[in-house]
């Protein structure tokens, strides 16, 4: 049994010197005990280290030295033994360092990774506080690293803050820089470090202001800045309040937008710009064969908004919605129901005409779910601008656009459906459905039902006004 005493928890050189002698002599990893400093009680007697070899008997790949230098800084007490076990195996298998699936290599890799992360986090999360020192000042930080990284990491702070005087205090070791040399001191306590700095108030102000409450992603924050670091970060004290306030702030932002008096000419400009944007829309393939985009129309403060399915042959040529046969039937029905057409905004779920050519005729085809979904962006913008109290979907395509999912007319018609934006939705049939019914009696019956439903909508509008 061999016992090796290393001078410090990060004593790589000591480990390397001993490990080389043991490995050359072929000592089995199970026969070596590694420790830092002198062991308190020596339970077993031990053999002296094998003699220094005449010359290096075998060389190890660079990758091993790099990994060992990092992994040895880990707090895991087994790290020295694990590294020696890997070295021992490397003697017979020089390619082992490339076998990233090897369980031992993987375990040591994980140690190295944890150390590298700790080194990186120290560079990120050390927070200096300025204190007077004679005529000059010194910057002092308190930090609690997870592994034995402080000595290894000192160079970074020297390179970065070469012209400053600074100290980093940690529980196991302190380092001090005076502008020219680096000195080490014993471990310290939190109370040895200054407890504040006037610039911290500015930094906290910056931290709170740069945070965007409209996009809360606490998981992403926690994975990179786990809570264990929070107690030494002055800005972390703000986090709970920022999170709690975030949703409220975003809601308030949207609410002020909705209650603030919206200038009518602003809305008119916005609508005109939106319409112009829609004219060049290529969100779905329908823009190819169709003549033009048929945007909605009507008063921009209309209390009621009707959604049709899509423009037909005549609308496609005229450039306006609801002017074909179905539109005329719709106008008649509105008069019969007593709804004021001049106070309504009318638009379509899909804003390009979809058709199949048959000889000279262009036969209407229903839009599919993808086309409705693509066009829904425009519809939602129109609704956001007009902000009607009631939205009436004519037919299944319109209902899909309004609700974002497929519904059956029979199950949803004739009753109010609350919508996410606060408006009330209604579903009824599309007027072209009435035009297509072959049986006159059935047609009259359905027409009456359509008018009755429009009348309910009209009455609801009066009730809400």
């Amino acid at each position: 049994m061999h016992r090796v005493s290393l001078s410090a928890p990060d004593d790589f050189d000591g480990w390397r010197a001993a490990a080389r002698r043991l490995a050359v002599a072929g000592v089995d990893p199970a026969d070596v005990v590694w420790q830092v400093g002198d062991a308190p009680g020596d339970l077993f007697g031990h053999d002296p280290l094998p003699p220094e070899p005449e010359r290096a008997a075998f060389s190890v790949p660079r990758a091993f030295v790099d990994l060992a230098q990092t992994a040895i800084l880990h707090r895991d007490p087994e790290r020295f033994a694990l590294l020696y076990a890997l070295l021992h195996r490397l003697r017979d298998r020089p390619g082992l360092m490339e076998d990233r699936a090897d369980p031992l290599l993987r375990r040591i890799d994980a140690l190295g990774k944890a150390v590298r992360r700790d080194i990186h986090k120290m560079r990120a999360f050390v927070r200096f506080r300025e204190v007077a020192e004679g005529d000059d000042t010194r910057f002092v930080a308190w930090f609690e690293p997870e592994h034995h990284i402080v000595r290894d990491n000192a160079g970074f702070f020297v390179r970065r803050f070469a012209s400053m005087r600074w100290s980093i205090l940690t529980p196991d070791l302190s380092i001090h820089w005076d502008g020219a040399t680096l000195n080490e001191g014993p471990g310290a306590q939190r109370s040895d470090a200054p407890d504040g700095d006037p610039v911290e108030a500015l930094w906290k102000g910056y931290y709170a202001a740069i945070f965007n409450p409209a996009r809360l992603k606490t998981g992403a924050m926690l994975s990179e800045m786990p809570k264990k670091y929070w107690r030494n970060l002055p800005e972390a004290a703000l986090i709970p309040d920022l999170i709690a306030g975030a949703q409220a702030r975003e809601a308030a932002m949207i609410a002020t937008t909705s209650v603030a008096p919206r200038r009518p000419d602003d809305i008119a400009t916005a609508w005109a710009a939106l319409r112009e944007g829609a004219m060049g829309c290529t969100r779905c393939p329908l823009h190819g064969p169709a003549t033009q985009t048929i945007f909605g129309e009507g008063p921009l403060d209309a209390p009621i908004l009707f959604i049709g399915e899509q423009p037909g042959d005549q609308e496609d040529l005229a450039g306006r919605p609801f002017v074909g046969p179905a539109g005329q039937l719709f106008d008649t029905a509105l008069v019969q129901a007593g709804v004021d057409r001049s106070r309504a905004y009318v638009t379509n779920a899909v804003k390009h005409f979809k058709f199949e050519r048959q000889g000279k005729r262009r036969l209407h085809q229903s839009p599919d779910a993808g086309e409705i979904e693509a066009c829904r962006w425009w519809l939602s913008q129109e609704i956001a601008l007009v902000r009607p109290r009631l939205i009436v979907a004519l037919g299944a395509s319109a209902a899909r656009a309004m609700l974002g999912k497929a519904v059956t007319i029979g199950a949803t018609r004739g009753m109010p459906i609350p919508l996410a934006d606060g408006a009330e939705g209604w579903v009824t049939v599309h007027p072209s459905y009435l035009l297509r019914l072959p049986d006159a009696a059935r047609r009259a019956e359905e027409h009456a039902r359509f008018v009755a439903e429009l009348r309910m909508v009209g009455e609801r509008l009066t009730a809400l006004a």
Partner: protein
């Protein structure tokens, strides 16, 4: 107007800067402060000194010199017609703040942007002065990112590039029509013209350094840009195509995406609701696929939904692409070339490199692959290993459903 304190100004001008997504401080020339009279170092990889609850890293002091602006871009909180509180820093105040933060190890450096006051040249001059003072008066060797104003004098852009590590110009919106509608005073042609100019300056600088080692560096961390997602009607396909053409034409280091987010007192032209944050995430994933995984923009377009032109939100674009190209799978983990392994959903660049290294040591079994990657669940249908061959897995009609996370109810008009 009452005098504002430094803290009040900082809060106003940081608040105004937060809609810029970039906070990168990587990839610049390596330098440190030894032998100088100032402070600062850059060592390749940038450092995130803090994270805000929005999940974004705080690496730089990201502020505006002023949030007053003569432009009226609808998506911008600082536009002329917005009733937001205005503030302005002097160049000296920004310099002091940067140094004070840097000394305390809060930041890697400065990202300075500005609203346009008086003229483009005047504004650019002020920003260049901040960078000059930091570099020359204080020998500051940390990171500086300057937002450049496309219309500014080329000489000012040259000076900016001599002091700064990175320059950026935002294209703002993916489509020309979107820019016309939402940022009427900006001109897509001029923006790209300025990018072209910066690229030429950077290449001249690199040429000069090849001949003379002492030639000054010009913006060693390159140039980047930002696009706002969801404020106009552009779909993902259009956005990816635009990003890819920007990468090709101007050698950009990065294209940042910023999901349009509701701003206080917005213009009525804007949508009220934000697009799902996931959309921005999927676009970044597609960006990664182009930059690190060897996909062409056209190939990623093939992963978008046929009708909407957008990337699926429930699964990542690499998986979406694989599900649309099942014929090339499964891939043999012990024989396939690097390019083919990179296309396997769930295999990242590091994992692929580890596989390539390890398979020289012996044939890999599924269990070995599991040790080389974070999760094997997604991989299994797409891989062949020494002891594993997926039986007709890639032909299953329900493969997408088996790999996608369980669906969640979406908002109406979200």
């Amino acid at each position: 107007m009452a005098q504002l304190s430094t803290r009040q100004k900082l809060e106003i001008l940081a608040d105004a800067a937060k809609y810029d997504a970039s906070c990168a401080s990587s990839g610049t020339a390596k330098r440190d402060s030894r032998g100088g009279k100032g402070i600062g170092s850059t060592e390749g990889m940038g450092i995130c000194h803090a994270y805000a609850p929005d999940g974004r890293c705080i690496s730089l002091l990201k502020i505006l010199l002023t949030n007053s602006c003569i432009f009226d871009c609808h998506y911008c909180i600082n536009r002329r017609s917005s009733d937001v509180r205005r503030a302005r820093f002097t160049a000296q105040e920004v310099v002091d703040l940067t140094l004070n933060f840097y000394r305390r190890n809060y930041i890697e450096g400065l990202f300075l942007s500005s609203g346009i006051i008086r003229s483009s040249d005047y504004t650019m001059e002020q920003m260049v002065e901040v960078a000059r003072s930091l570099r020359q008066d204080h020998d500051f060797r940390g990171y500086i990112h300057l937002k450049t104003i496309p219309d500014a004098d080329p000489e000012l852009l040259r000076l900016a590039g001599l002091h700064a590590d990175r320059l950026s110009i935002n294209v703002e919106l993916p489509t020309e029509s979107g820019l016309k509608r939402l940022a009427p005073e900006k001109d897509g042609g001029r923006i790209e013209g300025a990018m072209r100019h910066l690229r030429a300056e950077m290449e001249d600088g690199q040429d000069a350094r090849r001949k003379y080692r002492s030639a000054p560096r010009f913006a060693p961390a390159g140039q980047s840009t930002q696009m706002i997602v969801g404020a106009d009607a552009a779909d993902d396909r259009a956005i990816i195509a635009r990003a890819s053409s920007l990468y090709d034409r101007h050698r950009l280091r990065r294209v940042y995406y910023s999901a349009f987010s509701p701003i206080p007192s917005p213009s009525a032209v804007l949508p009220l609701k934000r697009p799902p944050l996931m959309r921005e995430h999927r676009l970044y994933q597609s960006d990664w696929m182009m930059r690190f995984y060897g996909y062409e923009a056209g190939e990623i377009a093939a992963a978008t939904d046929q009708a909407t032109g957008c990337l699926p939100l429930d699964i990542d674009p690499k998986l979406a692409w694989a599900l649309n190209h099942r014929a090339i799978f499964p891939v043999d983990v012990n024989r396939a070339p690097r390019e083919a392994l990179l296309r396997v959903p769930g295999l990242g660049v590091k994992a692929v490199d580890r596989i390539l290294m390890s398979r020289r040591q012996g044939r890999l079994r599924l269990e070995d692959v599991a040790r080389l990657t974070t999760s094997i669940r997604k991989l299994r249908p797409f891989l062949i290993a020494a002891d594993w061959r997926p039986l007709a897995m890639t032909d299953r009609a329900d493969l997408r459903a088996r790999l996608a996370p369980p669906a969640k109810q979406l908002d109406l008009f979200a």
